[in-house]
Amino acid sequence: MTQFHKSDIVVDGVRVQVFQAGEGKPLVYFHGAGAARGFDELLPLAQGHRLIVPIHPGFGGSDDDLRINTVLDYVVHYATLFDQLGLGEPVDLVGHSLGGWIASLFAIFQGHRVRRLALACPAGLRVPEHPSADLFMIPPDKLPSYLVAAPAVLAAMTTGEVTVDMKVARYREITSLARVIWERNYDPKLDRWLKRIAQPTLILWGEQDRVIPVQQARQWADRLASEPQVTTFDGVGHLVFVETSGATRRVASFLNGGS
């Protein structure tokens, strides 16, 4: 299987890391609020695509950008990064969780740069009947059980020593997340704005997602102008791509025009 090639670029004065694999039409993936695990589970998407996973400022191997304190700041960051990567033609865009929120705003404000859109358990919508968990409130030792549902995956995530380096890295990432969404993990305006999304859209969700409940999938689908397809996965939690290879297969078939 192909591997990621990692490179650094400087966007608006801040060094960020970009994972890339494969060749073909560009497919950009906006990750969620953690980059420590890497993204090997996405490599099947590099089949026939140039898969690009930019690491958000404040996460993983990218430097901090303290000026970023709204999701829209990420959209501006990515508009610039797209320019620098020479992504002139519309790309396929996939976003997971926080990355789904960024991707949806990117589709709203930079719609001409998006060909097809896949949102995996996106954050950002206020759904009072099925609210998203507040990640900041979850005790660190309980976090894995919120992120994944499959017992084997959970066991793999909870073994091994948690080092000081890992704790500091996690604190840095959750600080970056707090800058953007401590006050509230949704944007009340998103409800109105989502109807601006007209690109063909796929929505994926783990049915056992404890961070953003699967019931929110219908709320997203009802708001987008593009009448999205919705696929849910039984036995799968929030880290939908980690837990089932079915998720990348579904995205691949959607991007290739399948239903």
Partner: protein, 388 residues
């Protein structure tokens, strides 16, 4: 001249609610069920606690100190200005110290107004100290911990502009915009009451206080770490053209005075341990919300090992905190040593601690005032005399 020649005694109260809920690893903060609060008990506690501070005024303490915490049995003072207002009406001499409302938890112009009210009402008896607020406050107030330090500094800029520039003025910041910054009344003292910054030793807070020419006061942290902060403070202040003196730094201590050392230990020890084991106890998660600590400070804290106040022993406690239980002579000796060691002439004493009953607090406050303070006021050691 020795710092001992101009010692000032600050009688401080935390006003705890002592009926703690057992078996809570995360302690008595943030998510402590408030259904445990009994208003009749609370009423009695406010009365006793205010009486203890008012007694301090009558006994000649230089200052009475109150502070502020939220959603915790640690403190019955979610607004220290209200307690200060009650104290002003019942006291004559002592300075009233609000040490204080975390300015980030309120509108800065509103705090400028409230503190100015207190200063005018008291005829210029107010002193202010500005804390960032513990990490725990950020879970129970609608405030983002990841930019707490930036907001703190801007808030202080608003307050200082409000107090020192003739109003109305305009303010355009990252967090606040004021069309007419024009607080009324203004402080009684000119240009403004004495200002301290309260910190836990984080370097950039120490430097901030020193750069701005504010005083500095450090919360309960090991003595060695405090002394290092004070050194850093003095060096930075000097670099910025300020001349810190023995009043620029406030230290704190927990003394208990009795007829004999054995009696002091018997009467005082368990209440002090109660404070550290039960009231100060919290969880790492609550104590360090995201971004509240700079990452390098979190790393140092993790590498040093987690401080588990629930497991603290008396021996460990007395070796790192300023705790002394004994006769007036013994207590006076320790206090003199600590003040000289830190080159500070201002010492906060916690004479009610933890679940201490009213009678013991009254005894401790009285003995300290009548037996310890006079010993210290007289105390100029032969060695120091010779040096002069």
């Amino acid at each position: 001249m020795s710092v001992l020649d101009r010692l000032q005694f600050y009688l401080m109260h935390f006003m705890p609610y002592p009926d703690v809920v057992p078996d809570r690893p995360q302690g008595q903060w943030v998510d402590i069920p408030n259904t445990h609060f009994d208003p009749e008990k609370g009423h009695k506690l406010y009365k006793d606690y205010l009486d203890e501070l008012v007694l301090g005024d009558a006994l000649g303490y230089d200052a009475l100190v109150v502070n502020e915490h939220h959603s915790t049995f640690y403190s019955l003072m979610p607004s220290c200005s209200i307690i200060a207002g009650a104290l002003i009406a019942r006291t004559r001499q002592a300075r009233i110290c609000v040490f204080g409302t975390p300015i980030t938890l309120t509108y800065p112009h509103r705090l400028a107004e409230e503190y100015a009210m207190l200063d005018v009402m008291s005829g210029g008896r107010l002193e202010c100290a500005f804390p960032l607020g513990t990490g725990m406050e950020y879970w129970v107030n609608p405030l983002n911990p990841s930019h707490a330090r930036e907001r703190f500094r801007e808030s202080m800029d608003v307050l200082m502009q409000a107090w020192t520039q003739p109003g109305p003025t305009r303010f355009d910041g990252e967090f606040y915009h004021y069309k007419y910054l024009n607080p009324f009344p203004l402080p009684y003292q000119k240009p403004h009451p004495k200002i301290y910054v309260v910190g836990s030793g984080t370097e950039d807070t120490v430097q901030y206080a020193a750069e701005k020419g504010f005083g500095y006061s450090q919360v309960f942290t090991p003595i060695a770490a405090q002394l290092k902060s004070f050194e850093n403070y003095r060096a930075t202040a000097a670099k910025h053209g300020h001349t810190p003196d023995s009043e620029s730094i406030i230290i704190s201590a927990i003394p208990y005075v009795a007829e004999t050392e054995a009696k002091a230990i018997e009467e005082g020890r368990d209440h002090i341990l109660f404070y550290f084991k039960n009231l100060l106890r919290t969880s790492d998660q609550m104590n360090s919300p995201p971004g509240y600590l700079p990452a390098d400070r979190l790393r140092r804290r993790l590498e040093a090992g987690v401080f588990q106040s629930s497991e603290i022993t008396w021996e460990a406690l007395t070796s790192v905190y300023r705790t002394v239980l004994g006769t007036p002579d013994q207590v006076a000796e320790r206090i003199a040593f600590w003040c000289e060691q830190a080159q500070s002439s201002r010492i906060v004493v916690h004479l009610h601690t933890g679940d201490m009953p009213h009678w013991k607090a009254v005894k401790n406050i009285t003995l300290f005032a009548e037996e310890v303070i006079p010993r210290l006021r007289r105390k100029v050691s032969p060695k120091l005399k010779a040096a002069e």
